[in-house]
C-alpha cells in the first residue's frame, strides 16, 4: 500500500493508504479528525472542505495519495488552543449555523475566501460559498458571519 506523508494541522503524519482512499477518509478514519464531514459524497455539498497548501478543496474529491507532501488544515487546526479562529468566533456571534453539519466546511471555505480580502461584499461571499450547501437553508446568517469574520481576520 502507498505511504503518504503529510503535515496535518502542523503535525507531521505518515499513513499507509490504499490508492483509492479519499483524503477525507484518511482524515476521518485513520487520523480520527471527524470534524471534517461527508455530506453528499458527490462533490457538491462542501461539508468535507479542508485546506491543502492553503487552498480550499473538497476532501471527498481528492485521493489521499494526491495530497502526499502537502500541508493540510482541517477545522480542528483553526483554533489557537481555547481561542477560536476569528471566523469561528464570527459564526458563533452571528449564529451562522442551525444543525451545524455543514459548518466545518462553511468555515473552511470562508477562511480561504476571506484570506487577503477583509472587505468582501455580500455578493462575493454568496458566490464564494456556491460549493457549500446548508440543508437547513441558514444562508442569511452564514453570509453575515463570513462578512464579519473576514473583517475580523483583517485580510
Amino acid at each position: 500500500m502507498p505511504t503518504v506523508n503529510l503535515t496535518v494541522n502542523g503535525k507531521a503524519v505518515s499513513a499507509n493508504v490504499e490508492a483509492r482512499t479519499l483524503l477525507v477518509n484518511l482524515i476521518r478514519e485513520q487520523l480520527g479528525l471527524t470534524g471534517t464531514h461527508v455530506g453528499c459524497d458527490t462533490s457538491q455539498c462542501g461539508a468535507c472542505v479542508v485546506h491543502v497548501d492553503g487552498k480550499s478543496v473538497k476532501a471527498c474529491t481528492m485521493l489521499a495519495v494526491q495530497a502526499n507532501g502537502s500541508k493540510v488544515t482541517t477545522i480542528e487546526g483553526l483554533a489557537n488552543g481555547d481561542k477560536l479562529h476569528p471566523m469561528q468566533e464570527a459564526f458563533r456571534e452571528h449564529h451562522g449555523l442551525q444543525c451545524g453539519f455543514c459548518t466545518p466546511g462553511m468555515v473552511m471555505s470562508a477562511v480561504c475566501l476571506a484570506k487577503g480580502h477583509p472587505n468582501l461584499t455580500e455578493k462575493e461571499v454568496r458566490e464564494g460559498l456556491e460549493g457549500n450547501i446548508c440543508r437547513c437553508t441558514g444562508y442569511h446568517n452564514i453570509v453575515q458571519a463570513v462578512l464579519a469574520g473576514a473583517k475580523a481576520m483583517g485580510g
Binding site: L22, T42, K58, M62, E130
Partner: protein, 271 residues
C-alpha cells in the same frame, strides 16, 4: 471505488511510458474533479491512474506574441485570477471563474476539462470559438479538429495534452445559462471576433451544453455577425431543436431558444 495502481510521474516522458505500459485500462488524472466522482460511482474501473499533478512544468500561463498559452495542468482558479489572461482575453478569465465552484476551481484544470470533453463543459466553447491550438506530447491539434463528439476527442491512446494556445481576439464574451446545482452549462455561447490580422479575421461562435455531439460552431450566427456584429443581426438564427440535445434539465426546444438568447447577450457583452 475499485482499487487501482497509482502512479505520480515527475516528467511527461515518464507519464507517457506509464500510460503505454498500462494499456487500454490506464487513465490519466489531472485535477481529478471529474475522474474521482466517476470512480466513486464505479462508472470507471481503470487498472492504473497516472496522476499528472507531479509534472510541475505543465502548469503556468505565458503570453506568447498574440496568443495566451495555458499549461494543461493550470487550474481554473489560476486562469480566473491571472492578470495576463484578464488583460488579453477577459472572456476566458470570466469563463474560468464560472466553472463549478471555488473548491472545484482550485483543483480542476484546463487540460483535464478539454481532454474529457464533457458536452456541458465550458472550456470546449472557448477553445473552439477562439480557434485555439492544443499541443500534446506528440503534435499540435487545431480546435476544429479536436472535439469529435460526446466525451470524444482527437487524442490518440498515449497522447497527453501539454498546453492550449489561445489567439487573442479583438473582442469576445462567454455567456452561459448554468444548471443551478452543478453550474455546468445548460447552454453556453462563446462569441469571438478577430481583426483582419494573422488569424484571418471573422467571427467564431461556439455553443456548449446543447449539441447532440457536444460543442459545435453556430455557422449561421457567425456569418451574420461577420457582416454586422450586433445582437439584432442574429435574431431568429439559433439552430433548430432537431439538432440539439433534450434531457431532464431542458428540452431541445428550450435549448434552441436559449442559444439565441445567450448568443445575443454574448454579443452585447463583447461590446
Amino acid at each position: 471505488m475499485y482499487d487501482f495502481q497509482y502512479h505520480r510521474p515527475a516528467s511527461l516522458a515518464d507519464a507517457a511510458k506509464l500510460l503505454q505500459s498500462a494499456g487500454d485500462d490506464g487513465k490519466l488524472m489531472a485535477g481529478g474533479q471529474t475522474l474521482i466522482p466517476t470512480l466513486k460511482q464505479r462508472l470507471a474501473q481503470p487498472s492504473a491512474v497516472i496522476d499528472l499533478g507531479g509534472i510541475k512544468d505543465l502548469a503556468g500561463i505565458k503570453v506568447d506574441g498574440n496568443a495566451v498559452m495555458i499549461g494543461a495542468l493550470t487550474t481554473h482558479s489560476t486562469v480566473a485570477s491571472s492578470k495576463d489572461v484578464a488583460g488579453k482575453i477577459k472572456a476566458l478569465a470570466q469563463l474560468a471563474e464560472g466553472i463549478g465552484d471555488r473548491q472545484v476551481r482550485h483543483c480542476g484544470t484546463i487540460g483535464g476539462s478539454i481532454a474529457n470533453n464533457d458536452p456541458a463543459a465550458d472550456y470546449p466553447a472557448a477553445v473552439l470559438a477562439l480557434n485555439a491550438t492544443i499541443t500534446t506530447n506528440q503534435r499540435k491539434i487545431a480546435a476544429d479538429e479536436f472535439f469529435k463528439g460526446l466525451f470524444e476527442t482527437a487524442l490518440k491512446p498515449g497522447e497527453i495534452i501539454t498546453s492550449v494556445s489561445f489567439p487573442v481576439p479583438e473582442k469576445a464574451a462567454y455567456v452561459k445559462f448554468p444548471n443551478p446545482a452543478s453550474r455546468y452549462a445548460i447552454v453556453g455561447v462563446f462569441v469571438a471576433r478577430f481583426g483582419s490580422g494573422g488569424t484571418g479575421g471573422g467571427v467564431r461562435v461556439a455553443v456548449t451544453g446543447a449539441g447532440q455531439g457536444g460543442v459545435f460552431r453556430a455557422h449561421k450566427i457567425e456569418e451574420a455577425l461577420s457582416k454586422n456584429f450586433s445582437a439584432k443581426a442574429i435574431e431568429g438564427l439559433h439552430p433548430p431543436a432537431s439538432s440539439l440535445n433534450g434531457d431532464i434539465h431542458a428540452s431541445a426546444e428550450y435549448r434552441s431558444h436559449l442559444i439565441g438568447v445567450m448568443a445575443k447577450r454574448a454579443v452585447a457583452a463583447a461590446g
